[in-house]
């Protein structure tokens, strides 16, 4: 136990990186996933197919391979994202490693987010969309004002599962230059081999707390959006 408690600032910093990876790629994947879902149910057939192809590629590829691609292949192709390190906003700047990791996580997760949204849209009665078009709303207006508000209610549970998976998937970044929770755990077990079980336990608890916080807020949302 004291291996972790005497390094508690390291522990907190590590979960800080995990959280940062989760929040940034979580939000990015929600945005990208929503766009993809709109394209997949939209009227333009080229876009429908493109979004379908995206889902096929990224949902069917292991996350680790996407990471390897971002970390090993992209720099060889000339994209190492080093330029982001020169951008500074209010004294903060991010490393190229952070950017590459969040891109990999976002590309992967948004495919699942897209499918969760699509299932939500499908759960809305088709008559709703037809009625919206009948009163003269465009496709985007009917999505924005009629279909999505109703779909959102249905997608909270599957979207939560996708985001929970994302929290745990951030651990893949441990092998790609990010000193997040799993990487820090490995450096502690290396230094304190005699306290291995305790270290595992304390890091597992850290993940459980984060996941539980996300799950509880999702239950709260479900209750709030519930219609009688």
């Amino acid at each position: 136990m004291e291996a972790v408690f005497s390094n508690f600032d390291e522990y907190l910093k590590a979960f800080g990186v995990t959280l940062a990876l989760f929040v940034v790629s979580g939000l990015a994947s929600l945005v990208l996933g929503l766009i993809l879902a709109s394209l997949r149910v939209g009227p333009v057939s080229v876009m429908r197919r493109a979004a379908g192809l995206y889902v096929t590629i990224f949902r069917n590829t292991p996350l680790l391979m996407i990471f390897v691609f971002m970390a090993a292949a992209m720099p060889k192709l000339g994209y190492n994202f080093k330029w982001v390190e020169n951008i500074e906003i209010a004294g903060w700047s991010v490393s190229a490693f952070f950017v590459r990791s969040t891109i990999a996580l976002t590309l992967y997760t948004s495919a699942f987010v897209c499918e969760a949204f699509r299932s939500g849209v499908n759960s809305v009665d088709v008559g709703q969309a037809e009625a919206a078009r009948a009163v003269g709303l465009t496709f985007f207006q009917s999505m924005r004002y009629v279909v999505l508000p109703q779909a959102l209610r249905a997608v909270v549970p599957p979207l939560t599962s996708v985001q929970v998976a994302l929290i745990k998937n951030t651990s893949v970044a441990a092998a790609f230059g990010m000193a997040e929770a799993t990487a820090t755990m490995r450096s502690l077990t290396n230094d304190y081999g005699s306290q291995r079980p305790e270290i595992f336990l304390l890091f597992a608890i850290g993940y459980i707390i984060i996941v539980e916080a996300v799950a509880l807020s999702s239950y709260a949302l479900e209750r709030k959006w519930k219609v009688a």
Binding site: A71, N80, A174, A175, N190, R196
Partner: protein
């Protein structure tokens, strides 16, 4: 007319046999170009050990399981098509097995990564761990570590066109990679560098070649192995800035192994087989065999 079933079966069997021979031939061809040295194998070794000791059991069984690394050129490396791991660590393993009367081909090699060295010893998965296993007080709480059989220190590997980094004093604020969770990575963090952990050393080397990170760090002997592979692209800089004493791990259940390991190492220091083992492995990159390290006493 279609061939009769028996005939077809015969053709299939023949094809398989031909295929098998050609694969075996490939395996042999692969072995020819690896430099090996002759290993002394003691005869009637079992008689030399007292009853009830682990050494006696191993000598009577005629086989031993040794955990080594598979991803460190020069120290412990096994390519995808190799039959046996190569490097200084396996050579030391052969010396130890030889003193038990076990020939190199009777040794069972098992890959150990940094994370599973203690668990493997505790569970009896392996008899010995010879896997760039630095001796530390905390590890000695759970397993036995005899030796050291080799002392090295952490250095830096950079691209040969890098003039900025000439030693550990230049790495402040630089991105330095190594294997996730390793002691080397902790050490450069203390020096003010940004640590970048990867799964394997080879991925880390790629990052240096790409210019994605500024330098790679780990024990000098491993870095020399990589620099020797690509001397035009990579160079090792600076003096060693840590001391790693590689020990041989054994289970705490058989503390008698410590004295045997120390005795065998002492003999190999004296008869030159230790130096020979170094020359055909790490020595390939042009380094002279270092001075023989002083062994720790075995606590009972």
């Amino acid at each position: 007319m279609r061939p009769r079933p028996t005939l077809r079966r015969f053709t299939a069997a023949a094809a398989t046999a031909v295929l098998a021979t050609s694969i075996a031939a490939c395996g042999n061809a692969g072995n020819d170009d690896t430099e090996t040295r002759d290993v002394d194998v003691a005869e009637n070794a079992a008689d030399e050990f007292e009853d009830g000791t682990r050494m006696k059991e191993l000598a009577e069984d005629g086989t031993i399981t040794i955990g080594v690394k598979y991803d460190q050129p020069g120290l412990g490396f096994k390519g995808a098509t190799d039959d046996m791991p190569k490097g200084f660590d396996p050579e030391v393993g052969k010396i130890l097995a030889g003193s038990l009367g076990i020939a190199p081909e009777d040794i069972t090699w098992k890959e150990t990564i940094s994370d599973n060295r203690e668990p493997f010893l505790e569970e009896g998965e392996v008899d010995l761990v010879i896997a760039t296993y630095s001796i530390t007080d905390d590890r000695r709480k759970v397993v036995g570590q005899a030796g050291p059989y080799y002392v090295t220190g952490q250095q830096l590997l950079v691209r040969s066109d890098n003039d900025e980094i000439n030693g550990v004093e230049d790495i402040k604020g630089m991105e330095v990679c190594s294997v996730t969770g390793s002691t080397s990575l902790e050490n450069v963090k203390k020096e003010g560098a940004k640590p970048r952990g990867f799964d394997t050393y080879s991925e880390c080397v790629d990052q240096v070649l790409d210019g994605t990170v500024d330098a790679m760090t780990t024990d000098g002997s491993i870095l020399l192995g990589y620099a020797a592979e690509q001397p035009d692209e990579l160079k090792v800089v600076g003096e060693p800035f840590s001391e790693e004493r590689y020990g041989i791990g054994y289970s705490k259940d058989s503390p008698e192994m410590c004295q045997w390991i120390n005795d065998t190492l002492t003999t190999s220091f004296e008869d030159g087989s230790w130096e020979e083992a170094f020359d055909v492995t790490l020595g390939e990159s042009g380094v002279e065999a270092p001075e023989q390290p002083e062994l720790d006493d075995c606590q009972s």
